[in-house]
């Protein structure tokens, strides 16, 4: 219930809508997604991030919370330039991860 008193929007998760299967499928073809430590290097260097809300870090966090739709919004402006891939300290293949997320969650609720 949101009475409008909170500073940040509600991050309540509706467990009925939480589809774990999709995340498992993603983790199966991209085990890298589990390696992310949310350091934010990808977001800090992001070319698209200057113009729009584009953040792989946030997208992964949203996916882990089951908020698929929000996650997609954080990836759609991506131009696939590959800077995040060069800076990732965990060696995650970010470009393919982004494509895989878009593919698996394409018709997210």
């Amino acid at each position: 219930m949101d009475f409008g008193y909170s500073l940040s929007p509600s991050s309540r998760i509706d467990l009925d809508l939480f589809d774990r299967n999709r995340f498992n499928t993603l983790a199966e073809i991209e085990p890298d997604v589990l390696k992310c430590m949310a350091c934010g290097s990808c977001t800090a260097t992001c070319t698209a991030g200057k113009y729009a809300k584009n953040s792989l870090r946030s997208a992964i966090l949203y996916l882990q919370n089951g908020q698929d739709k929000q996650a997609l919004e954080y990836l759609k402006p991506c131009m696939l330039c590959g800077k995040c891939f060069m800076v990732c300290p965990r060696g995650i293949n970010t470009r393919h991860l982004i494509l895989s997320i878009l593919k698996i969650y394409n018709n997210a609720k």
Partner: protein, 601 residues
């Protein structure tokens, strides 16, 4: 010259006729299929190319050089070139001379498919008449050349390194059938013509064979079996051809004509791409070329296997290989047929990625900056260069030293050029970026764009429409500054080796300018593989799925090739190469701009 067999027919021609008719029907249907799948405007362009004398001359020259003489393979390895050219050219001449003989001496048999092939069976001639001696000599001469080529081909199966190939492809079943038929065709022809040489005449090759066998057989009973065997070998070869690598023989002609007409790959399996796929001769030159093959497990990701899976419609494998490729383009420049496998791979990636959602609505809010003065030179660093700020600093120093009035377009970060999207197969998305970027550049009123990133440069050259604007990579720009004397550098005895970035070298054909610059700084040493054979640094944005470990192995291999002559420094001209090498190399690595800025006088 007289016909030995009345009616000019014998039953042994049946296997040959079955094979050749099947092949011709198959080729005709294939041609119609390809033309049907080519987009309408490309088809028009293809037909128009047949009335353009310039293109016709280019077609003829390419067909003679590539299909008959195999100049490209000669350049790669003389023995390999001779092997292939002797079989292709020799066989072609045998066919041509056969037809000439028929046209000259038995014109009533003109138009018969089998008569020129089995000419020596049907016609009797003495070799002491001029026409017998001359044509029989030519026939035997070219047969000898082909036999030599077949001998070399057999030897290549045992020891391919003798012909400059470390690895060769594993032939599939149809390849094997066609290969063994091809090997047996010419020895059988020699035997068949040898056995009949006593009756029909022969020359320096067939006469001795005839005399040799006549001595211990003492009869003519072998004539029929050998002619039958020769005909069966030919027929079987033609039957196996559409399913084997030898389909490249007829398809290459179509590919050359289509390529010269300016056609491009639009779909990964149909139309022009199909002509490319069937033109692949499975020779395996791309196996040695592919940088991924430093690891044996990656051999299956080579272009030749990619194309084989495309032929078999094995979608899972096709996607796997297409996503793995680094897009360095080495297999494309070394391919003797010129199959542009990278373009097919990009189109294939598009079948998966083109459907994915994207949202570039923010582009509308980007406006060209209002500038007080109109600088003639615009500097565009590119995304990658912003991760290696030392290149930007060096370029600024060089611009200032040259007294250039320039405008730094993406000093605060700019849009991506679109090339990474193109390489991921997202052509439509890339077009949006290209359109926006072009607008911004045209609005700036510049005359020259200097770029630091070869990835950007390539897509600028290939996809952007920027009339009146000259595109220069910073290596070219610095080279012109030094030549015009606008900057001067101190030369010392440091030794350098220059690494050709894939997109700058193979992509934009810029090899000499960076070398001129490096030579002005110090001693230029050679790498074991350079210019168009340079090895990808391993950092390429071309690959979608290659992981860090595999990339690191490629990087090490590339550094090994660069440091064979123990240079003091590795010089590169791409921010991505610089970053990838710096993580791995024991030898210091610099961008060409950094090296110049350091030594600016």
């Amino acid at each position: 010259m007289r016909e030995r067999i009345a009616g000019g027919y014998d039953n042994f021609v049946i296997p040959f006729m079955i094979g050749i008719i099947f092949l011709l029907v198959y080729l005709f249907i294939g041609l119609i299929r390809i033309l049907k799948h080519v987009p309408g405007e490309d088809r028009k362009r293809l037909f128009l190319s047949f009335v353009n004398p310039k293109i016709i001359i280019k077609d003829l020259r390419d067909i003679i050089c590539d299909c008959l003489l195999h100049v490209k393979i000669f350049k790669r390895n003389i023995l390999l070139g001779y092997m292939h050219a002797s079989i292709a050219f020799g066989w072609f001449m045998l066919i041509v001379i056969g037809h000439i003989e028929v046209a000259l001496f038995v014109p009533q048999r003109n138009g018969s498919l089998y008569y020129p092939v089995f000419y020596r069976f049907f016609v009797a001639e003495q070799n002491y008449t001029l026409k017998g001696a001359f044509f029989f000599f030519l026939m035997d001469f070219f047969l000898l050349i082909v036999l030599g080529g077949v001998g070399l081909a057999m030897y290549k199966r045992v020891r391919s390194i003798a012909m400059g190939m470390r690895r060769t492809t594993k032939p599939c079943f149809a390849d094997r059938v066609a290969l063994y038929c091809l090997w047996s065709i010419f020895p059988l022809r020699l035997l068949a013509e040898g056995f009949t040489a006593g009756i029909s005449g022969g020359s320096f090759l067939t006469k001795p064979v005839n005399m040799l066998f006549a001595n211990f057989f003492g009869n003519d009973l072998n004539i029929y079996p050998t002619w039958w065997a020769y005909s069966i070998a030919l027929g079987l070869f033609f039957l196996a051809m559409p399913f084997s690598r030898y389909m490249h023989i007829p398809t290459e002609v179509l590919l050359i004509v289509m390529r010269n007409a300016g056609l491009k790959v639009t779909r990964p399996r149909k139309g022009f791409a199909e002509a490319e796929i069937y033109s692949c001769s499975s020779c395996g030159i791309c196996l040695d070329a592919c940088p991924m093959n430093v690891q044996k497990k990656n051999i299956n990701y080579s272009s030749v296997y990619f194309i084989r899976f495309l032929r078999r419609h094995n979608t899972r494998k096709i996607n796997e290989i297409a996503d793995k490729c680094l897009m360095c383009g080495k297999c494309v420049v070394l391919c003797p047929v010129g199959v542009e496998s990278c373009n097919i791979k990009m189109a294939q990636r598009g079948t998966v990625t083109e459907k994915l959602p994207y949202d570039y609505s923010y582009l509308q809010e980007i406006h060209a900056p209002v500038k007080e003065k109109k600088e003639k030179v615009l500097y565009f660093a590119g995304c990658m260069t912003h991760l290696t700020p030392s290149i930007i600093k060096s370029m600024q120093k060089i611009f200032e030293a040259a007294g250039e009035d320039y405008y730094f377009a993406d000093s605060d970060g700019g849009l991506c050029c679109g090339r990474p999207l193109m390489m991921a197969g997202k052509k439509e998305a890339a077009k949006e970026l290209i359109k926006k970027n072009s607008e911004l550049f045209m609005a700036s009123g510049c005359e020259t764009i200097v770029l630091s990133c070869p990835i950007c440069l390539r897509v600028f050259k290939e996809e952007y429409r920027l009339p009146g604007i000259k595109l220069l990579h910073h290596t070219q720009y610095i080279d012109s500054l030094i030549k015009e004397g606008r900057i001067s550098v101190n030369k010392d005895d440091t030794s350098f080796v220059y690494h050709d970035p894939c997109e700058l070298g193979r992509g934009c054909k810029i090899y000499d300018e960076p070398r001129n610059v490096v030579a002005a700084l110090g001693e230029l040493r050679h790498a074991s593989k350079e210019k168009k054979e340079s090895i990808c640094c391993g950092g390429s944005v071309g690959s979608l799925t290659l992981n860090f470990d595999d990339r690191a192995k490629i990087t090490r291999e590339s550094i090994k090739a660069l440091t064979v002559e123990n240079p003091d420094k590795i010089i590169t001209a791409c921010p991505l190469c610089l970053k990838t090498f710096s993580d791995q190399s024991m030898v210091p690595v610099n961008d060409i701009a950094e090296a110049v800025a350091e030594k600016i006088a």
